[in-house]
Symmetry: C2
């Protein structure tokens, strides 16, 4: 039952997305579920792709980048050149993410300093109340 086709609702429940999102991804050519009459049917392969899409988003890839990666993956099934391209792109992304983390760390440190200052001020108020 785990490898049967799923309806759009099943997919939404499984992956925590809305129908609109799935149709949107389809529109962007990230997904291409089978049709049975009007209804969309998502195969195991579609589910694998959706997993990759969502993972890509967690990594901060844009949908467009994800699409390129999926295309590469599809077309270059194990072919070295394609893998290398994917690899390079991921490396760049990693660099981006580490830059982001550095900035975030910096901002966190700065904010903590401000908070320490504020805490000091508040403690001052507390002492004033106590001394009165």
């Amino acid at each position: 039952m785990s490898d049967r086709d799923m309806t759009i609702r099943d997919m939404c429940d499984t992956f925590g997305v809305t129908p609109r999102t799935l149709r949107f991804y389809e529109d962007k050519e990230l997904l291409a579920p089978r049709r049975e009459g009007q209804k969309r049917l998502y195969s195991r392969r579609d589910r694998a792709r959706l997993s990759l899409i969502l993972r890509g988003k967690r990594f901060g890839f844009s949908l467009e980048q994800v699409r390129q990666l999926l295309d590469l993956y599809d077309r270059g099934h194990g072919k070295e050149a394609q893998l290398r391209q994917t690899y390079e792109l991921a490396l760049e992304r990693l660099a981006d993410m580490e830059r982001q983390r550095a900035e975030l760390d910096e901002a966190i440190a700065e904010l903590k300093r401000e908070l320490a200052w504020g805490a000091g001020k508040l403690a001052e108020f507390a002492r004033m109340r106590a001394a009165e």
Copy 2:
């Protein structure tokens, strides 16, 4: 000369923003420079506010949140209650930022694992070429 009013261009050069940005902030009531005829003149106080705005942005506050903080700051000049509110808000932001960093770390680790896998595959290709 450091505490004289500045023109919009001076501001842009000093803070690395565009005129459009300054007008936009004014529109959003984040800034309210004096006018001399038509021209905007930014006082030392305006510059201080802009610093705070940009710092807030680095912290991930939205402009709307920044506006609220500036209002609090203005109206509650040193009054404990206002300071406390600002403090609380900053604490929440800090929590957000640390959550973000945790997610980012997680994503980085995951991406690194994928990269390691890719590197392995690429090494395999290299070995194949060497063995031929």
